[in-house]
Symmetry: C2
């Protein structure tokens, strides 16, 4: 049976990285999709792990050849995208693939893969989101304001996802359980099973 393509979006500060890492670790056959980007590697980033690093011309060529499930240019500088071949190969091999992408990317994936599972991970409140971002001590007032504005815009689109999971403070385990439950339930959907029912009448 082919794996599930699971698209997870949510504002920066919703806690996606932590819960998705825990989710992957808890799945028998789960994998992150590794994005491709034209931005320069940061110290310690290994090619093929955090990202596949490529040049702009390599990226554009692959994009024109339809090689991405979704891609976008972020803040008018670097390109980011999900390489299609890797994902489709892994799905065929039975892996559940988690795509941690933004709302725009999710809409692109929905267009080409309506059978994917779309989950929005939300913070418990905008006030809590602000608090989490401030506590990182890595944001300037301007970048904080920009992140909050982007978050508000993303939150407005949450209704376009099939599932909404609120990641409450100190409840990361509960959040992971809900995400796991969504995967288990989706694997029981008759619309996915009809082709390969274990029953012959």
């Amino acid at each position: 049976m082919s794996g599930l393509l699971v698209v997870v979006s949510g504002p920066s500060g919703a806690g996606k990285s932590t819960v998705l890492k825990a989710l992957i670790d808890s799945l028998p056959r789960g994998k992150f999709s590794v994005s491709m980007t034209t931005r320069a590697p940061r110290a310690g980033e290994i090619n093929g792990q955090a990202y596949h690093f490529v040049t702009e011309s390599q990226f554009v060529e692959m994009r024109e050849a339809g090689g991405f499930l979704e891609c976008a240019r972020v803040f008018e500088s670097a390109w980011y995208g999900t390489p299609k071949n890797h994902v489709l190969d892994d799905l065929s091999a039975g892996f559940d693939i988690i795509l941690d992408i933004d709302v725009q990317g999710a809409l692109q994936v929905r267009h080409s893969h309506p059978d994917a599972v779309f989950v929005f991970l939300a913070p418990p409140s905008m006030e809590e989101l602000r608090r989490r971002l401030e506590n990182r001590h890595t944001e300037t007032p301007a970048s904080l304001a920009r992140r909050l504005e982007t978050a508000a815009q993303e939150m407005e689109r949450r209704g376009e996802y099939q599932y909404l999971v609120v990641n409450a403070n100190d409840r990361a385990e509960e959040t992971v359980d809900k995400l796991r439950a969504i995967l288990v339930a989706e694997k029981c959907r008759t619309s996915r099973l009809e082709c390969c029912l274990p029953m012959s009448l």
Copy 2:
């Protein structure tokens, strides 16, 4: 938040009673719906527990008043039905209500409550179903044949349910986990949440 109405069907011998009992026990707020019937109570059956026992005229009057979520006359003798008021009151009070009903009943519920969750519980194979029914040593050859024929007819309708869970031998726990996951996932569906999101933008 209102509870979930969960309709579970599946052939006799699929193991419904056992796994649904375990499911209810594991839910924080779960209840079976108690059916109403015109058949006579068997030894030990208490009114209001296994069934609500009523006379045929009481049943027919309630049916004509639209008092059932679903009802049917079984083998042209006794009536069975799910009283609407009890279920709706319990749902409003936040209970998840499990309806263990047949395919015909499920279709009636889908008509009036398309937001219910529809799960088909299947045996791993028809051979295994036959074995389980034979091992009960309660079936005559004629009743066994009738149950198997009914089972085959019900199995053909499984694609009309949203979820299919196969109850494999010695895997009742896994089956219960899947049913629980379906309930958890359904409670995260944005289509159920939009009215009562915990987030104000």
